[in-house]
C-alpha cells in the first residue's frame, strides 16, 4: 500500500465525507449546511494551522488551547469593559497571543528546555492569566459580528472564505526563506544548524507565528460563541495535535504539505463529529424506543480519533524489523 503514503489525511477525509453524505442526504450540499460545518469548526481548523507551523519546525505547543481561551477573554473584556471596537479588541488579543508565543519561543529556543514541558507550564500560567482577565463567563459581542461570521461573502460562507484566505496566505509564505528554514529544522535540527540556519531565531519565529494564529482562532471562537468563557478553548490543544498527525504530513519536509495536511486532518475531525451526530439522530428518529445517552456520542468520537491516529500504521511502509 505504498501509494497511500503521505495521502492518508485526504483518504480519511474523503471516506468520512462519503459516510457523512450518505447519512445526511443531499441536504449536505446546501450553502447553509456547509456554512454551518465550517463556521462551527473554524476555530479548530485555525488551531490546527497554528500547531502545524510549530510542528513543522520540530516543536509542539500544548498551550494553544489556553491561548485561544485567553484571546476569547481579552476580546470580551475589551468590548464590554473598555468599550473598544471588535477590530480593536481582536488586535489586542492577537498581540497578546503573539507575545505568549514569543515567550514560549524564547524559553524553548534560547534556554533549550523541552517544548512539551515549557508549553505545559505556560498553559497553566495562561489559564491563571485568563481567569484573572475574565473571572466569570459572560459578556456579548455586537450582533453584526456573529451575523457576518455566520453569513456569506460572494455566495461563499464567511468561515470557508476566511479559511481559504488564511491557508492560501500560509502556502504563499512557503516562498520565503524562513519557512524553508523551519522545515529544515523540523527534519533535522543538527543538519540545519550545520548548514547555517539560525536555529534559535527561526524556532522563536515559529512559536510566535503559532501564537498569532492561535489568537486568530480565538477571534473566530468569539465570533462563533458570541460570549466569553475562558474554559472554552482548552480542548483545542489535543484536537489540533491530533489533526496534524491524522493529516499525515509530518516529516514530509514540504511546507505546503504541512498546511494542507493540517486542514484535512482538522476537517476529518469536524466531519466525524457531524457523522456521529447524524448517526445518533438517525437512530433516535427511526427507532423511537431506543434511548442513547449523549455520553456515547462523546465516547464514539473519542475512539474514532484514537483509531484515526492509529490508522497511520496501515499505510506505513513495512520495514524489516531491525535496529535503526
Amino acid at each position: 500500500m505504498r501509494w497511500l503514503e503521505g495521502k492518508l489525511g485526504y483518504i480519511l477525509l474523503a471516506g468520512a465525507l462519503v459516510i457523512n453524505i450518505c447519512l445526511q442526504g443531499t441536504g449536505f450540499f446546501t450553502v447553509d449546511s456547509i456554512g454551518a460545518l465550517f463556521s462551527s469548526n473554524l476555530p479548530l481548523l485555525m488551531a490546527a494551522l497554528a500547531q502545524t507551523i510549530i510542528m513543522a519546525a520540530g516543536g509542539i505547543d500544548i498551550s494553544i488551547g489556553n491561548t485561544i481561551a485567553m484571546s476569547n477573554g481579552i476580546i470580551i473584556v475589551c468590548l464590554n469593559t473598555y468599550g473598544m471596537s471588535f477590530l480593536g479588541s481582536s488586535l489586542a488579543a492577537i498581540a497578546a497571543g503573539t507575545a505568549i508565543g514569543l515567550v514560549n519561543g524564547i524559553v524553548i529556543a534560547y534556554f533549550r528546555v523541552p517544548p512539551l514541558l515549557v508549553t505545559f507550564a505556560m498553559s497553566t500560567f495562561i489559564k491563571g492569566l485568563s481567569l484573572m482577565i475574565l473571572p466569570k463567563p459572560g459578556g456579548n459581542v455586537p450582533a453584526e459580528v456573529y451575523r457576518a461570521y455566520g453569513g456569506t461573502v460572494l455566495m461563499i460562507p464567511t468561515a470557508l472564505f476566511i479559511l481559504i484566505a488564511v491557508s492560501a496566505l500560509l502556502i504563499l509564505m512557503g516562498k520565503f526563506r524562513i519557512t524553508n528554514h523551519m522545515t529544515a529544522i523540523g527534519s533535522n535540527e543538527r543538519n540545519a544548524y550545520v548548514s547555517g540556519v539560525r536555529v534559535e531565531v527561526v524556532k522563536m519565529t515559529a512559536y510566535a507565528a503559532g501564537g498569532l494564529i492561535a489568537a486568530l482562532a480565538g477571534v473566530c471562537l468569539t465570533a462563533l460563541t458570541a460570549t466569553g468563557d475562558v474554559r472554552n478553548g482548552e480542548s483545542f490543544a489535543l484536537q489540533s495535535i491530533a489533526a496534524v498527525i491524522i493529516g499525515g504530513m509530518l516529516g514530509s519536509g514540504k511546507w505546503k504539505n504541512y498546511i494542507l495536511g493540517a486542514v484535512s486532518g482538522a476537517l476529518f475531525l469536524a466531519v466525524i463529529n457531524n457523522i456521529v451526530f447524524y448517526a445518533f439522530s438517525y437512530i433516535s428518529i427511526n427507532y423511537p424506543g431506543i434511548q442513547i445517552s449523549t455520553y456515547y456520542q462523546q465516547l464514539l468520537s473519542n475512539f474514532i480519533i484514537i483509531f484515526g491516529l492509529m490508522s497511520k500504521v496501515l499505510v506505513e511502509r513495512k520495514k524489516r524489523r531491525r535496529v535503526r
Binding site: 524559553v107 523541552p114 512539551l116 507550564a121 500560567f125 491516529l309
Partner: protein, 318 residues
C-alpha cells in the same frame, strides 16, 4: 564517573535546599505551618501525588519521549470504580482493589498498543485516551457516581500512625522502597534504564525493548489506578474526573526530581523529593490565600523557573 556522581549529589543538595527554604518560608508566613496536623496534611497530599508520580517516573525513564498524560484519567476511573464496587461495605474491599488494578492495567496496555505498535507519540495517545476515559466515567456513572468507600479503607486512609505521620504516608514509604528495589535490583529495572538511555544499544545486547516499554505502561496504569483507589478512600466522595488535577503535578514532580525527560536517567527518590516540594508550594499558596487565578499563575511561573534550572539541553554545537 566521579563527575557524574558529584553532579547527582549536587542535585540532591539542591532538592534538600529547596525543601528547607520552603519550610523556612512557611514558618515566616504562618507560624502554624510546622504544626503536626499541617505536616500530616501535606504528607497525605504528597503521598497521593507520589503514587501517581511513581508510574510517571517509570514511563519517563523508558525514553522515546515517553510521557503518560492519562494518569489522571486512570486515577479518576480507578476512584470511580472503587467507589461503586466497594459501596460502603468491607466485604467488597479486596474485590474492588483487584478490579481497580486490573482496570489500570487494561488502560495501560491500550496505551502501550498505540504507542509501541502504532507509533503514535506518547503525549498524543495518552491525551486522547484520557479524554476517552472521561466519557467512560460519565457513561458508567451517568455523570453522578453513587457509592461509598468501605469503612476499613477510609479509616486506614484518614488515620495517622504518629501525630504527624499518616498511614497513607507509611504506604508511600513502602512504595518508595519497593520502587528503589525495582529500579536498582531487578532485571526489569536494569533493562528499563538501558532502553531509556539508548534503545539501539539495548536491542543489540538482546533486550526486548518493546516488551519493556509495554510492561512500563501497564505498570504505570496499575499504579495510577492504585492512587485512584486511595483517593476514593481518603476523599470519601468521588466525582467524575476527580484525579484530573494530578496530571500536571505528576510530570512536574518527575522533572523536578531530576529525571531526564529524554529517559534513562533519574530515580524515584528524586521524584519523591519533587512531590514533597510541589505539595509544599501549593500548601503555601493556600496559606497565602491566593485566589484560583493567582494559584495557576504562580504554579506556571514556578514550574517554568524549575524547568529552566533543571532540564536545559546542551548547546546544539556540542
Amino acid at each position: 564517573m566521579s563527575k557524574i556522581q558529584s553532579k547527582i549529589r549536587r542535585q540532591e543538595l539542591i532538592l534538600v535546599g529547596i525543601t528547607l527554604a520552603l519550610l523556612l518560608a512557611g514558618c515566616m508566613i504562618n507560624g502554624q505551618f510546622l504544626r503536626p496536623a499541617n505536616i500530616a496534611n501535606i504528607l497525605i497530599m504528597a503521598s497521593l501525588l507520589g503514587f501517581v508520580a511513581s508510574g510517571q517516573t517509570l514511563v519517563v525513564l523508558s525514553g522515546n519521549d515517553g510521557l503518560d498524560l492519562s494518569v489522571g484519567g486512570v486515577m479518576s476511573l480507578g476512584a470511580v470504580a472503587a467507589y461503586i464496587i466497594m459501596d460502603g461495605s468491607n466485604g467488597n474491599l479486596l474485590k474492588a482493589f483487584f478490579i481497580v488494578l486490573l482496570v489500570g492495567a487494561a488502560v495501560g496496555l491500550f496505551n502501550a498498543l498505540g504507542i509501541v505498535f502504532a507509533k503514535i507519540p506518547a503525549l498524543v495517545m495518552t491525551l486522547a485516551v484520557s479524554n476517552a476515559l472521561t466519557s467512560v466515567q460519565q457513561l458508567i456513572t451517568g455523570g453522578n457516581p453513587t457509592g461509598a468507600p468501605s469503612p476499613a479503607a477510609s479509616r486506614l486512609a484518614t488515620s495517622k500512625a504518629v501525630s504527624f505521620l499518616p498511614w497513607l504516608t507509611v504506604i508511600w514509604i513502602i512504595l518508595i522502597f519497593a520502587m528503589y528495589l525495582l529500579l536498582t535490583r531487578s532485571t526489569y529495572g536494569k533493562q528499563l534504564y538501558a532502553v531509556g538511555s539508548n534503545e539501539r544499544a539495548a536491542v543489540l545486547s538482546g533486550i526486548q525493548s518493546r516488551k519493556i516499554r509495554i510492561y512500563t505502561y501497564i505498570i504505570c496504569g496499575m499504579l495510577s489506578a492504585f492512587a485512584g483507589f486511595w483517593l476514593c478512600a481518603y476523599n470519601g466522595v468521588i466525582y467524575v474526573n476527580a484525579g484530573a488535577s494530578y496530571v500536571m503535578p505528576s510530570v512536574a514532580a518527575v522533572v523536578i526530581g531530576g529525571t531526564s525527560i529524554a529517559g534513562g536517567k533519574g530515580s524515584y527518590n528524586g521524584t519523591a523529593a519533587g512531590t514533597i516540594i510541589l505539595t509544599m508550594i501549593s500548601s503555601l499558596l493556600v496559606m497565602m490565600d491566593t485566589n484560583e487565578a493567582g494559584k495557576y499563575m504562580m504554579n506556571g511561573v514556578i514550574l517554568l523557573v524549575l524547568l529552566v534550572i533543571y532540564t536545559r539541553h546542551p548547546k546544539i554545537r556540542q
